[in-house]
Amino acid sequence: MPCALLGDRASGKTTFLGLLYSAQVKYGTGVHDDFRFHAPMASLNVMSAVYEGMKDARFPSATLKEEITELSFIFGYLRKVTGKLPYYIRQQNWVKPFSTLRFSAYDVSGEDIEEFIESGIASRPLIQQLLKSVVVVVLVDCSKMTTDIDTAPYKKMLRYDSTVAKLLVAFQTYKKQEYDRLKDSGVSPDPPMIYPAFVLSKFDTLRDDVLARLGLHQGFPEDKRARKEYAEALLRVFVPQTLSQIRGGKVAGVSMDKAAYFLSWVRTETQEGMEPVGQPRIVRTGFRPEGGGEPDFSYDEYVNFIEHFRRIANKIPDEVLESEKFQAQSLIRPN
């Protein structure tokens, strides 16, 4: 299942992926043992370098960021039924105890899919792959949320909103075209769906005065519904076009209603009364029985993010199979 990761320049994309990797490592080695992940060598090389740097209190370097165009992980979720089977049986190949899901993140910008927006044709394989994404993760940089409309961050956010809205319309159009193509070829696919996930990155930098002016309290709520309302209250202000296109996806034939919201923050070292000099350093957790020396970040949010994919994984395979079936038919069809 391809997953598109959209984020503005310096919105924390690499840090997000590094923290996701860090969460995967921790969650995948936990006592529950119901989540596994695997990464291809190229992705592993980059992510382990990012991970090492973070464990050394450093944010990802610009050189590392440039190396990322596509990153893949395979997530494996222990199936509920097989999880209850005895260990010996679970280990047998025929049991297939894990439902797997391929998380591929592409680093994309508006320009990357300009060709599709302008011509309606996606000729580059990477863009085709990207447009097939079933999950679209949108990073919204909270450090750019400002109530001062004459500032550069305000204008950057305006531009970012337009870019993401454009990308979402492109995803929706592509999905609808593919759906119509499948139908025309005699396949009966399910109505197309996109699962948007918003990550409020650098949430710790969201200023109190911004929250106060928007009538929001400090701190993200725990309750699922309250979380959604809180996040949407922020997004309605800073990315209204994006939100309107998600809401309107259904009327254009591609439902995008099942949006999920997550926070990302990583604590940085501050010295009281002094301005930080140079690149901030990441605070690391102390050593405890369950681990330590990790970046101090919103781990629970990342676990929620991983778990969110478990729910999607239960719904996606049919669509993927249909698509693969269609491609197979196309290959054997004589010209």
């Binding site: 309606g120 809205a165 949407e232 309605r236 209204p240 296109q245 809401r247 309107g248 009327v251 254009a252």
Partner: protein
Amino acid sequence: MLHVAIVGDRDSGKTTFLGLLYAALVKSGSDKTDDLRFHAALDSIEEITGLFQQLMSGAFPDSATKEGMHEFSFELAFEKPRGGVLARFGSRNQAAGTSTTVHITLPGRLDEQHHGFLQETATGRGRWRDALDADAVIVLADSTKLAPKGEDPEPGPMETYDGRVEAFLTSIVRWRARGGRDVLHPIFVFSKFDAIKPEVVRAANVEPTPPDVSKTGPRAVYATTLLEPNLPRTLAVLQEADRGKLRFARPSYFFSSVRTEAKAHGRSEGIRLRRIDGAGWEPDYSGHEYFALLEYLGEIAAQTKD
């Protein structure tokens, strides 16, 4: 699909009008509780988001944006019936739960049409051809150019424009005599209504603000009182008995205004932005008029589907 054509004089605010219509869509379609949903078409999204950015930055559209903005397509749906001030569109049930494609064309300035188009020796091409087939025509009346009714035989500032709109509507009548849709919905939008000259309002003996959007009768009287001295030929075409196959629906009237403010460092004046409770900013414009217009377009779309 609902085809809508927008015509207007030079600098009458056509592009700003379209941008504000999009702003109204974004505002009324981004909350879960909103009963409007819209989705922009891929071939319009680049231009319309660029225009939105300019308006939300407090700037009027620049010349490049005006040149590039020719159409805007979107899917529009109303999720449930609506009452209140917009109850006049009582058959909302027809549109509830269904969506329609709205294609808005900005064919250009009326003086750009080539001569043969108006004389019926040519049928026009491209966007002007789309305009001939429109379900609704939005005629922009630049309120800053409205003149009071007077004894002076001198031509008013809108006389030429009036002639062009009349010719355009007449060419639609001729075109539709051959076939096509048999109803055309004329919609008058008073652009820059906040800048109407006080003497025009005084001479017309009307209030400075139009009647509420729900009061269709008084609103029509108000609008025609202002339009009659300025667009008499246009109004006459709409009332002519002999129109062949084409029928004009009863005209609708909307009033657009956007507050401006002086920009620093000698830059030209820009759009004033206002805070909305818990929802950020938006241009300080007559949003309720735009929402009413969107409702009206939804209503026409429902009728067109029947």
